[in-house]
């Protein structure tokens, strides 16, 4: 159990997917304008991350490895992820159209959210068990959602700041993300892997 907790903490904080491993940055920057939107995106991505890591794991261990098809791993995983994302898109479009409009461009982009593919690939290279793979996916999702919500809050506040003209808009958001990533360096060495 502690092992699994460590997997989560490791993926969420120590090797935070976004700030340390540089995965999933596009939705991180794109969906962090408002806290509400960020929470929605966090939820959607979390869903995709966890399910995709589970399904990819099954595809890997039940299809690819038995048939010696590891070279198709990228293709197979991306297919699974694409399907999971499309499913999420359908779900949000039908169940929460507002979220769908707000996240607009970014839901399809979860498919190319590197974090999702990253989780799947990292799971298969790290030889995790199915449970550990799911926990790793969940940890990554928590870490992604956490920093997304934090950045959204900070960006809302930065809107009231008196930012120099050239830095207004995206640039100050990157500065803010940079300082967050400085702060997350404090977690280095937490889980000694």
């Amino acid at each position: 159990m502690t092992e699994l907790m460590l997997v989560i903490i490791g993926a969420a904080l120590v090797n935070n997917f976004v700030l340390v491993q540089f995965l999933g940055l596009c939705p991180f920057m794109g969906a962090s304008r408002r806290v509400e939107g960020a929470l929605g995106m966090a939820l959607a991505t979390g869903l995709v991350l966890t399910t995709a890591s589970g399904i990819s794991y099954l595809v890997d261990s039940l299809l690819l490895i038995p048939f010696d098809l590891e070279y198709l791993r990228l293709l197979a995983f991306i297919l699974v992820i694409g399907a999971a994302v499309q499913l999420t898109e359908q779900l949000t479009r039908k169940l929460s159209p507002l979220l769908h409009r707000v996240l607009g461009l970014y839901i399809p982009l979860i498919a190319s959210n590197c974090a999702v593919l990253g989780v799947a690939l990292l799971n298969s290279t790290a030889n995790r068990s199915l449970i550990a793979a799911l926990f790793y996916g969940a940890g990554a999702a928590v870490g992604f959602g956490l920093v997304l919500a934090l950045l959204a809050g900070l960006r809302e506040r930065a809107e009231f700041a008196d930012v120099p003209k050239p830095f207004q808009g995206h640039a100050i958001a990157f500065i803010t993300a940079g300082i967050m990533s400085l702060a997350f360096l404090g977690f280095t060495g937490f889980v000694r892997l």
Binding site: L19, V20, Q21, F22, L23, G24, L25, C26, F28, M29, G30, Y71, L74, L75, I78, L79, I81, G82, A83, V85, Q86, E89, Q90, L105, P108, L109, A111, S112, N113, C114, V116, L117, G118, L121, E159, F160, A161, D162, V163, K165, P166, F167, Q168, G169, H170, A171, I172, A173, F174, I175, A177, G178, I179, S181, L182, L185
Partner: protein
């Protein structure tokens, strides 16, 4: 002619994928510890975007909405995998540095966005031009950011060029008279660096009066 110019300008400057649309950030930030790394990945991305745009555009009439995303990523992924395998086999030296980054190209959102917004709606020639413009724009940012981070972070420029173009290029490496600040090569430095590049772009856009993207200005101007 002018259509081509518009498309090129769009990809390179007005709708630059990295600076304006903020797409493809992961490889952009992860890889740009040196100029050469950035350049290499930029070139590879260029090839992939151009190829994907062409293929998607060719089959744009037979696409179906529900499965469009899986199809796009499938196409992108197979092209990337092929490139990965082929460079590995044929250009081994190149693959030594590129190898790590190539699979990352699959998840470069800029490519998917191109497929979704351009290639699936436009004829092949326009899609190709747009793809090349996007790829070049992306590559340019990679190079600039890589250069900044390399100079600030380790006090060199063009280190490792020999791996890309041959041993003769080793002499092109420039060593600056300081050791560099580590923060530039670490993750925070990537964010700061990109912020600076975006700010520079804004500054230039403001100077040249070119209509940049309308940006949300600070909400309270008065103190």
């Amino acid at each position: 002619m002018s259509r081509v110019r518009v498309l090129m300008l769009g990809g390179l400057w007005r709708n630059n994928p990295a600076l304006v649309l903020l797409l493809g950030l992961c490889p952009l930030l992860a890889v740009t510890t040196t100029l050469v790394n950035g350049l290499t990945l930029g070139l590879a991305t260029l090839v992939v975007v151009a190829a994907t745009n062409t293929i998607v555009s060719m089959m744009r009439h037979s696409l179906v909405a529900v499965v469009r995303i899986p199809l796009f990523v499938l196409i992108i992924a197979s092209i990337v995998t092929c490139i990965d395998l082929l460079t590995h086999a044929l250009l081994f030296e190149l693959h030594e540095i590129l190898g790590l980054f190539i699979p990352l190209i699959i998840t470069n959102c800029a490519i998917l966005a191109q497929a979704e917004t351009v290639a699936s709606r436009r004829p092949v020639n326009e899609s190709l031009v747009s793809g090349i413009a996007t790829g070049l724009g992306f590559c340019g940012v990679l190079v600039v950011l890589g250069a900044i981070r390399e100079v600030v972070g380790q006090g060199t420029l063009l280190a490792g060029l020999d791996l890309l173009v041959g041993p003769w290029a080793a002499n092109l490496r420039i060593d600056l008279p300081f050791d560099g600040m580590l923060v530039a090569v670490l993750p925070p430095g990537a964010f700061f660096g990109l912020a600076v590049v975006i700010a520079l772009r804004n500054l230039i856009a403001a100077r040249t009066g070119a209509p940049g993207r309308r940006m949300r200005t600070a909400r309270v101007r008065r103190s």
